[in-house]
Symmetry: C2
Subunit: 446 residues, 2 copies
Amino acid sequence: MGLEAIFNPRSVAVIGASADERKLGHIILRNILDGGFKGKVYQVNPKRGKILGLKVYKSIGKIPEDVDLTVYVIPARFIPGPVREAVDKGVKGIVVISEGFRESGEGGRALEEELVGVVREGRIRMVEPNCQGVNNPHIGLCASWPLIKTTGCVAVVSQSGTVGAFMEIMLEEDGVGLSKFVALGNKADVDEIDMLRYLATDEETEVVALYLEGTGDGRKFMDALKECIAKKPVVILKSGRTEGGAKAVSNHTGALAGSSRVFEAALKRCEAISVESLKEFYDIAKLLSYYRLLRNNRIFIVTSSGGAGILAADMLQEAGLKQAVLSDESVERLRQVLPPYCIIGNPLDLTGSAVAEQYKMVVEATIKDGYGMYIFIFGDPVPGATEITKDVIDRYGRIVIPVFLGGVDVQAMEVEKFRKYGIPVFPTPERAIRALSHLASLQRES
Amino acid sequence: MGLEAIFNPRSVAVIGASADERKLGHIILRNILDGGFKGKVYQVNPKRGKILGLKVYKSIGKIPEDVDLTVYVIPARFIPGPVREAVDKGVKGIVVISEGFRESGEGGRALEEELVGVVREGRIRMVEPNCQGVNNPHIGLCASWPLIKTTGCVAVVSQSGTVGAFMEIMLEEDGVGLSKFVALGNKADVDEIDMLRYLATDEETEVVALYLEGTGDGRKFMDALKECIAKKPVVILKSGRTEGGAKAVSNHTGALAGSSRVFEAALKRCEAISVESLKEFYDIAKLLSYYRLLRNNRIFIVTSSGGAGILAADMLQEAGLKQAVLSDESVERLRQVLPPYCIIGNPLDLTGSAVAEQYKMVVEATIKDGYGMYIFIFGDPVPGATEITKDVIDRYGRIVIPVFLGGVDVQAMEVEKFRKYGIPVFPTPERAIRALSHLASLQRES
């Protein structure tokens, strides 16, 4: 009864594919095809004719071969029959996109219970009614929308389709990439506990980003969370923290948000990374996609912009990190290699005349001081920023976080290069440092 | 001795224009030409030949007509002579881009003092040595870089070139636009006090964004600030708030950052909007470019995404705003006009099936409740989002802040439309609400 059939099926059938481009039944089928799914794709529809070049089967039972996964995009009331047929055929995973279940009232609740009964009896797993589907870009399976194809190591598990889509879109735009996506919807069967257990051992996933509105069994959840965190970091955005938010949660999913303070304390004990806004949720997942280790919390800032360097220094202190002090030897070496107009200190201000090579010279001159992390602020058009950063990382390990701002065309080109190397680059020093502070808390706690 | 000649000159001469595309002397001249400056442009260079199609004058004195503004991009040591010549010719404003003054040591300090002596004697004003220049896109005068052409009502005054450029680039990318830009550099003559006084009466400026590392005369500064705030809101990002940051300020500009707590308290008394990060600095300037008035702090959230709505509800409470309660009459009206699957409450969840028209229906059904602001969260591809928002604003005033996320292509199109109308749209509910909370504090205080 694993989730493997849902995330790594050898074949998939869309039940309710549509020829109408605006309909979800069309979009889902098209995304599976355009995503380049490596297995077999079928579609089931009572109407005749082809859709997107695929033969139409009148029912799942008519498909002559085995089908691992079925995805339902038909009205709720028509779903139990075809799901029963799928179970009879030996299908191993079910994804129900359609809405109209528990969230819509009594009749929907009964339908949902019927559905759960069918899949439990068949001993297979089901991702939700009322959800935005699943995606595994590593095999091109985007049984969801929007179409996200960039592979990476961040898994997104979201109780909200929009929050999930927001994360997926950012991960794609920034070139960070996705390992698995699931929108949990009503959590009638598969829930966050199942997902944490599954992702703990998923080889393509190195970071888990989990958006939650509430959780059923608190103890089981914390156990699964600990199990997952023992293997890889988990970032959690939990909404319903305030009274108003909790009331909204209860309206949205009928769940109780639970006591925010108790939950927060439990997360902390588990060493989960708890965040409070979408932006932070994304920034930390992005940082963790590349940086896992902060040897110590003494941070050194190298900048071409005095102003951005000062803002970084303020943020370091406010985030509980340490502005490292230069050793006398390092000051001496820096004086020898840098032009006299550079301001030697921390931040080390290369000034607006900075060239990329100087950032590397600073690391070489100070490497013996053993800082936990360098922050390279490219606060002007600095061509070659990416190659120099990559050079330093190749030589000394992942000890540099790049920030690029104010660089217009050069910035656009360099940021594109950073993306190709998979090195996360941040748009302001504050956002980099805020994310870094969570990495620091992780090392202290473990 | 006004700043009018610097921001609204009828003619400008670049001293040290270069034929080499990579040099600042070339970039500045090109930006003035490409910016579409409406007055006369001259260039001065000891070499022969044309640059960018313009005749070369050997010295400012050789230009046969009057010149209002001269911009210097030649090495520091060569500047005092040509500035003296400019004063003699009757030039009314000086902008010195070149570095190599006070920030570079004793020799530079002497040069800077000499320069200040010359302009004071000539009774004209000078923007800085060691700066990124000035821009007034309303007359196409970009004596700075990058080239920013989008006109708007936000003035950016920055002690850091990079922080200033960051703001300009965001204002341009988001279509918010710029009224005036100045990088204050060493503040040898024109400083933040002059700028606040100038911008207070500048008709093109409705919002002032000021980045400061330190200020000389605290009392004069607060007087100028109050004078400006009486006319228009001022957002201040002050760096050097922490010990580490203050030390970096002193290294950067030689100034004392001053006591952060005292300064913060003084800003609060003046009703300035004080922020702590670049992102917030920008978000609030952007919000204020369109929204000035929050009638009351009872906020109503309309959303297509349950999750984003809950996050907004949490953030409302955390930011000290109020989640408005629906009147019984409004609930009744909403029940009549909305489909039964919509979740009536605050947030009002139209669900993923939301269509743009419903957002307007919600406002119409609840307008009698007199909320201070509606937040429209378009958390899916919702075509027509812009027109509906514009409709509501045209009819009821600026009572809607739009947020768009998770909408991929439709989002890109709609955000472009929002930009055309000059309506700021935010990428997450948290960022909109955080900015809004500053607007709320402004109304409470005034």
